[in-house]
């Protein structure tokens, strides 16, 4: 007789305790590997300075901008020079800011080189970036051709520095691109109608240093009413978006309005405590009233456009002129060859102002020392005059140089006239005018700018939609900005 069989659960190939131990070990391993940081760069002390880090792979996170497109398309010279490979991740700007913030929070230092937007990345996370002077002063490392002094001074301050006192001396990023808002107009239509417009309007409509925003408004209305060549006179980037703040700021500064008391310094070097908002001032209110009036005669699509939208509308021939970033010159020239002119933005009662939107590239302090040194090689190469000149002629990008010496190169000077192999240079004169100390428009460089920016463009969107008055919009924006500033930077 066989022994009775007892009902038992089927045996597992793995015991319960073993399974739990395995799970815990795998979890711990995953946790530790996630927190472990990255390995340092390859290093050969006997190699010549440019080749010491051969075999290293650097990670560069950037906004999807023209200079990065040009660099990504031709990294071979850098890899041949250094033996370093570069992995480039390009993202939309707000996605980039998120990725950088989370990388810094994790402490992993996934990105060696960071496209450090002065307002979304540099100001909020300045302590997370290396002071580049240490690399420039290190005799073992290649130096910047022309030194820091070759960079346009306002660019170096606005895109490369942050803080007060000793912090303001640090150079945290090298100016990498330099988009600036200028007046883009259909030169063919202005020429065609110049005499009629002059007769009707009582002034020469051709853009000049003396043209005012009121005249810009009158020209816009003239195109609306007096010609069928275009449907509207002007188009704007007035979507509820960062672009709306940029578009409005040109008018705000022209009318004498300011964001904060020490606007020039706050814009150029930045601070963590800018004081109370000045948007309640009569000048800001006048600027808002004018902007509301201007948008009332602009292409209605303006309220849905950011800079790309207004650029596409301009190239599609919907309107005769617009304020937009000068980097759009290359695409304008492709679609409307020889038909677009560029000028500094009109002036208001106080001055002319063109929003500067340049950015620098920085080295993360979270990565090991050798990686930082390898990253420095990339910064030197990526911002070198020869690289900037090559980017200008790139078929995929078209750059915006940040060095004085590049603008003095004979082929770059020649490219400022048509036919141009570097179409972005067609706007060079207007851009240089806009960069003059008295004309440059620098938004506040404060860590909490994103929230202030949102508060402002939300109120401006309400203003343009007719939901609020100019005074009401400015007051509400100022109230919110004061609240944000009083709370301080949270992260």
């Amino acid at each position: 007789m066989s022994p009775p069989v007892t009902a038992r659960p089927p045996a597992l190939p793995l015991g319960r305790r073993a399974l739990l131990r395995g799970t815990a070990a795998a979890g711990a391993l995953g946790f530790l590997s996630a927190c472990g940081g990255r390995a340092d760069a390859a290093f050969d002390a006997d190699a010549e300075p440019w080749r010491r880090y051969a075999g290293t792979t650097l990670n560069f996170v950037s906004e999807n901008t023209a200079p990065t497109a040009a660099i990504a398309a031709d990294l071979r010279p850098f890899t041949e020079l250094t033996g370093i490979r570069v992995t480039i991740v390009t993202l939309e700007l707000s996605a980039l800011a998120q990725r950088v913030a989370l990388d810094l929070a994790s402490g992993n230092g996934e990105y060696d080189v960071v496209y450090a937007d002065p307002y979304m990345v540099l100001a909020p996370y300045a302590p997370a970036f290396a002071d580049l002077r240490q690399f420039q002063d290190d005799p073992a490392l290649p130096r910047l051709p022309g030194g820091f002094g070759d960079f346009i001074p306002t660019h170096l301050d606005a895109a490369g520095r942050f803080g007060e006192g000793a912090d303001a001396e640090k150079i945290l990023a090298l100016p990498y691109d330099s988009p600036t808002m200028i007046w883009q107009y259909r030169a063919d239509l202005f020429t065609k109608h110049r005499d009629r417009m002059a007769d009707d309007l009582g002034f020469d409509p051709m853009p000049s240093d003396d043209t005012t925003w009121e005249q810009y408004y009158a020209i816009a209305r003239w195109f609306n009413d007096k010609t069928d060549d275009v449907a509207y006179g002007t188009g704007h980037q007035a979507k509820q978006h960062d672009a709306l703040m940029c578009d409005f700021s040109n008018v705000l500064w022209a009318y004498g309005g300011r964001y904060f008391q020490d606007d020039a310094r706050v814009g150029r070097l930045g601070t963590t405590d800018p004081g109370g908002s000045l948007l309640r001032s009569p000048e800001a209110e006048a600027a808002a009233a004018f902007y509301q009036r201007l948008l009332a005669v602009a292409d209605p699509g303006s309220r849905t456009w950011d800079w790309d939208g207004v650029g596409a509308g301009f190239r599609a021939g919907r309107f005769a002129m617009c304020p937009n970033w000068h980097e759009f010159a290359a695409s304008n020239e492709q679609v409307l060859p020889g038909k677009v002119g560029y000028a500094r933005l009109p002036k208001g009662p106080a001055r002319s102002a063109g929003m500067y939107g340049g950015t620098g590239i920085a080295i993360s302090e979270a990565v090991p020392r050798r990686r930082r040194e390898a990253a420095w090689l990339f910064l030197v190469w990526a911002t070198a005059p020869d690289t900037q000149r090559a980017n200008l002629a790139s078929e995929v990008g078209g750059g915006t140089p940040t060095r004085t010496s590049v603008y003095e190169m004979p082929e770059v000077v020649a490219a400022q006239e048509r036919p141009s192999a570097m179409p972005n240079m067609l706007s060079a004169r207007a851009v240089r005018d806009a960069w003059a100390e008295e004309n440059i428009g620098l938004r506040p460089k404060i860590p909490m700018w994103n929230e202030c920016d949102t508060a402002l463009y939300t109120q401006l969107s309400r203003l343009v939609a007719g939901d609020t008055s100019p005074a009401g919009a400015m007051r509400a924006a100022a109230d919110r900005i004061d609240r944000v500033v009083a709370r301080g930077w949270v992260a």
């Binding site: 739990l20 929070a105 994790s106 509820q240 994103n450 969107s461 949270v490 992260a491």
Partner: protein
């Protein structure tokens, strides 16, 4: 053997929830590694003096009512039509379900391009029909447009669920009603709809959960504008967390959304219970 399951549940749900609760009482620092600094109920008290939060929730409620209401009515009507279709039901159903398989972010991008006044097909068609404005520039039309995009995408889900309910209505009951002289509308009202009510409640529950978190389409079309006309709670949550990096206040907004979602879900589950649906 429950332990691995519980560990997994803790990792996926309980720990993140506890972290969010902790964040809601903290100032969250990112620089130099994640660090929480206790601030008591500061983040919660900000809810009371936030001038925009009440409007955000009012707008969310509006979206919820319009999108879910339209989807339920339209979805049920389409299901009835399909149910009564004698030929080509499968083909019609397949075509009808197509929008549901498109990722919401793609629906948003499609919507943005189709309504763009420079090169959008819908914008051009509207212009030919005499509409001179810009759909996304006006508060009312922008609100209507993003609502319609959601309705376009998710009505098929309601149709599918309702159709499943309709196919299970006993043929003998319908025949009896027909013999008793009940017309189509009367049969629908007194027999069909009561029969599929529990199934419709399930559809309502699923869509309600989604509608309260409505994000992708709005973010990719209007970004919350114009004039905040399309800024819902989820857009506000995203801005607070990933534009302002104010994770403490974002945690408060997120927990509030969770509470509202839970209350709505509980309400519909109770309705299901009252209808006698076994769970």
């Amino acid at each position: 053997m429950m332990a691995p399951g519980l560990l997994l549940l803790a990792a996926l749900s309980i720990l993140p929830f506890a972290a969010v609760v902790a964040m809601s009482f903290s100032r969250v620092h990112l620089l130099g590694g994640l660090r929480l600094e206790a601030v008591g109920a500061d983040n919660w008290s900000r809810l009371l003096d936030d001038p925009d939060m009440a409007w955000v929730w009012a707008r969310t409620a509006g979206y919820f009512a319009v999108t879910v209401g339209t989807e339920m009515v339209l979805g049920t009507v389409l299901a009835v039509f399909l149910w009564r279709l004698r030929h080509g039901r499968n083909t019609a159903l397949s075509l009808l379900l197509l929008p549901m398989f498109v990722a919401p972010v793609i629906v948003g991008l499609l919507g943005r391009f189709l309504t763009d006044s420079t090169f959008g097909l819908y914008a051009w068609l509207l212009e030919q029909a005499g509409y001179s404005g810009d759909v996304m520039a006006d508060k009312t039309t922008a609100f209507a447009a993003v609502t319609l995009m959601d309705v376009w995408e998710w009505t098929p889900l309601v149709t599918l669920i309702a159709l499943a309910g309709l196919t299970s209505v006993p043929a003998s009951v319908l025949e009896a009603a027909s013999l008793d002289g009940a017309g189509t509308l009367r049969t629908l009202r007194h027999i069909v709809l009561p029969s599929i009510a529990p199934v419709l409640l399930v559809a309502l529950l699923i869509r309600s959960m989604d509608a309260l978190r409505y994000f992708d389409i709005i973010w990719n079309t209007t970004g919350g504008g114009p004039a905040d006309a399309t800024k819902t709670a989820s857009i506000r949550l995203y801005e607070t967390a990933f534009r302002f990096f104010d994770f403490g206040y974002a945690a408060v907004t997120g927990l509030l959304m969770l509470a509202v979602t839970t209350v709505v879900a509980r309400y519909f589950v109770r309705l299901l219970d009252r209808n006698g649906t076994p769970r």
